[in-house]
């Protein structure tokens, strides 16, 4: 049997890698990719806790499904914003987008 | 007799006995037998695929008033082998500037998305790869791997036509996934199960009588998902050469082509499974699983033929028409059907009037839709005619 610690450590590592991506990448789309990794780590945790602590209820899975919906909404809006910025400013390097208005 | 009733498990038990008698551990032997089984199953699919090429060429020839391949073997049945030899000895070109890994992975993914579906095909009660309780979701998931292979091929080819073809195909596949999922949901509501075996078991009366309109929606969106005519915009030769597989040669192209044919057959199988009772055929399936499997393959071939019939009869649709047809017509209709089916099914639950009520409500919806379309078309025509009366005059 796999102890719960393996899953939790894996999720923590995935979350940290995602955090690194969000903080370190230049490209705005890559930052969103990092956010996706972090959301996946959270989902692994939710499903793991469901399986190990409360398999008789479905709470963990419902939470994970809500996270899916949030992730889909976040990606749709985020990518639409990035494409709009690319049209207006012709760049998606996050460091160059430092004007409040133009 | 044992074998006739439950062939797969009988073979498994005898193989396991002979494997373990040589001193092999039981776990290892089981895994080994599973691998052999998977290999045999996939080989069966691929051999069937070879004959699908022949069937396709013969049927299209008949539709177009030709004879089709008739030189190699009786009725030209060995023609596909000649095709394969030709594909194998062609030069295998990787274009300059292509993304080599993705370029070579794409045909494999295309084939994979089809073969994955075979895992849940219930040929007969005891002849099914795995009875997943989320089977229908698995069908959609495998479809999304197909989408992935298309965009991989289009991008990795380093060719503008291929990329544009991939964009079109992906837009089409993603859009038509929605009415398809809604149609599958109708079936799930009726069967009370998402598993393929559960859906077949629920069909004392085939679901075509419960949901005839859903069948039509599923057929249309399945054809769109397959990328066959009238939805074969990815290979509109006059516009974008051959779409996402423009740059592929030899056996890599062969994999795309074989994948498309096997995909059509597989969807024929799923239509048989979802709407026509799978292996059931007037009690004939009681004779044994092997007869059931033959009935299932026969039904799948019939719906494969229906898909071909549509392909070689209907001309290609323009892309904006295709997307508008999906978003403004098919998707709303599918959701209306889902709601009506749920409501009527709830009202007539456990009653003998369930089938007639559902059938009549479907007919009613169809009639209302046709009336609405008629009035809509009349309005559009009147608007057009009001705009340019002079053009009308010159025509007369």
């Amino acid at each position: 049997m796999i102890p719960i610690s393996w899953y939790l450590i894996l999720a923590a590592a995935l979350f940290s890698i995602g955090l690194f991506g969000v903080l370190a990448r230049k490209n705005a789309v890559a930052i969103l990719l990092g956010v996706e990794l972090m959301l996946n780590a959270v989902n692994i945790n939710l499903v793991t806790f469901w399986r190990y602590n409360a398999p008789e209820t479905v709470t963990g899975q419902v939470f994970a499904i809500i996270v899916f919906a949030v992730a889909a909404a976040e990606v749709a809006v985020g990518l639409a914003l990035i494409i709009s910025i690319y049209r207006n400013r012709n760049t998606i390097v996050a460091d160059d987008l430092d004007m409040m208005k133009w | 007799m044992e074998f006739w009733k439950d062939p797969i498990n009988t073979i498994f038990a005898s193989l396991l006995k002979s494997f373990t008698s040589g001193g092999m551990s039981e776990v290892l032997a089981t895994i080994l037998i599973w691998l052999i089984g998977i290999l045999l199953f996939v080989t069966f699919a691929m051999v069937l695929d070879i004959f699908l090429v022949w069937i396709e060429r013969k049927v299209v020839a008949r539709f177009q008033d030709r004879l089709g391949p008739n030189r190699i073997g009786p009725f030209g049945i060995f023609q596909p082998f000649a095709d394969i030899v030709k594909l194998l000895i062609k030069e295998d070109i990787t274009p300059v500037g292509a993304d080599v890994i993705l370029f070579n992975l794409a045909p494999i993914f295309s084939m994979m998305s089809v073969l994955l579906l075979w895992a849940i095909m219930p040929f007969a009660p005891l002849m099914v790869g795995v009875d997943l309780n989320v089977g229908m979701l698995y069908l959609v998931a495998a479809g999304s791997i197909g989408t992935l292979s298309v965009i991989m091929a289009g991008w990795a080819s380093n060719n503008k036509y291929a990329t544009m073809g991939a964009f079109r195909t992906v837009a089409q596949m993603i859009s038509y996934e929605i009415p398809m999922v809604a149609a599958i949901l109708v079936i799930t509501v009726l069967a009370g199960s998402m598993g393929a075996v559960g859906i077949v078991e629920a069909q004392e009366i085939p679901f075509i009588f419960y949901a005839p309109l859903t069948f039509i929606i599923f057929l249309i969106s399945a054809i769109a998902e397959l990328g066959r005519s009238p939805f074969d915009l990815n290979e509109a030769e006059s516009e974008i050469v051959a779409g996402f597989h423009t740059e592929y040669t030899g056996m890599k192209f062969g994999l795309f082509y074989a994948g498309e044919l096997l995909h059509s057959f597989t969807f024929g199988g799923f239509i048989a499974l979802l709407f026509f009772g799978g292996h059931r055929f007037f009690g004939l399936e009681e004779l044994g699983p092997i007869v059931g499997a033959l009935i299932f393959i026969g039904k799948a071939l019939f719906f494969y033929w229906v898909i071909m019939w549509v392909k070689y009869t209907v001309p290609r649709i323009r892309i904006d028409h295709m997307l508008a047809f999906n978003w403004k017509f098919l998707t709303p209709l599918a959701f209306i059907l889902l709601m009506v089916t749920a409501l009527v099914g709830r009202l007539f639950l456990e009653s003998n009037w369930l089938v007639p009520a559902l059938f009549l409500s479907n007919i009613l919806i169809a009639w209302l839709t046709v009336e609405y379309l008629k009035s809509h078309a009349r309005k559009e025509r009147e608007k057009e005619e009001a705009l340019k009366p002079s053009a009308q005059m010159t025509q007369h």
Binding site: M1, I2, I4, L10, A12, L14, F15, S16, I17, G18, L19, F20, L23, A24, R25, N27, V29, A30, L32, L33, G34, E36, L37, N40, N43, I44, V47, W50, Y52, P55, V58, Q61, V62, I65, I66, F68, A69, A71, A73, V75, A76, V77, L79, A80, L81, I82, I92, V93 | D99, N133, Y138, V140, A141, S144, I145, L148, M152, W155, I174, E177
Partner: protein, 171 residues
């Protein structure tokens, strides 16, 4: 070593390796494809956790929709410059430090939890998680409201995305 443990380690290696490639690869399109590898790995983990429904939804939603959206966005905003320039900004060492800190912090927190070495309880054979999940999502006393809110959120995101990305409206 049991078979499940070996499988877990393989999947974990796939997930972490491809996640690392996602945040470090130069070519954005490759980063997106590495993300897809990660997502498949996570789906395999869900399957190992007896959550088959979650595994399928992971592939349908993430691979079939979100990853494809990412690939589209990368193609629409592609510039040769971006693929050749350094993928990380100049503060990446600080970012790496933060990531390490967060990992060690999480690890310490988890290590102090007494249930850390728990193993999974046996699932009863007759349990049908999917039916329960479906019922829970439409039961007013359970999760009907969050479910509806999620659907409204999706609708709002859909309309917002169309409005923001529509070029004609940006004047």
């Amino acid at each position: 070593m049991q078979i499940t443990q070996i499988l877990f380690l393989i999947f974990a290696a796939i997930i972490l390796g491809s996640a690392f490639k996602v945040v470090t690869t130069k070519k954005m399109i490759h980063a997106a494809f590495w993300l897809i590898v990660t997502l498949f790995g996570v789906a395999a983990l869900y399957a190992m956790l007896n959550a088959g429904f979650m595994a399928m939804v992971q592939i349908v939603v993430y691979v079939g929709a979100i990853a494809i959206l990412f690939i589209f966005a990368i193609m629409l905003t592609r510039k040769e410059l971006l693929d050749s320039a350094a993928p990380l900004n100049k503060n990446w060492t600080v970012a790496a430090l933060f990531a390490l800190l967060s990992f060690s912090g999480l690890f310490t927190l988890l290590n102090n939890w007494r249930g850390f070495a728990n193993t999974a309880p046996e699932l009863s054979a007759d349990m049908d998680t999917i039916t329960e999940l479906g019922t829970a999502l439409v039961t007013p006393n359970a999760y009907l409201l969050p479910f509806e809110v999620a659907s409204v959120l999706l609708l709002a995101a859909l309309i917002g995305a169309v409005y923001v990305a529509n070029e004609a409206k940006s004047e």
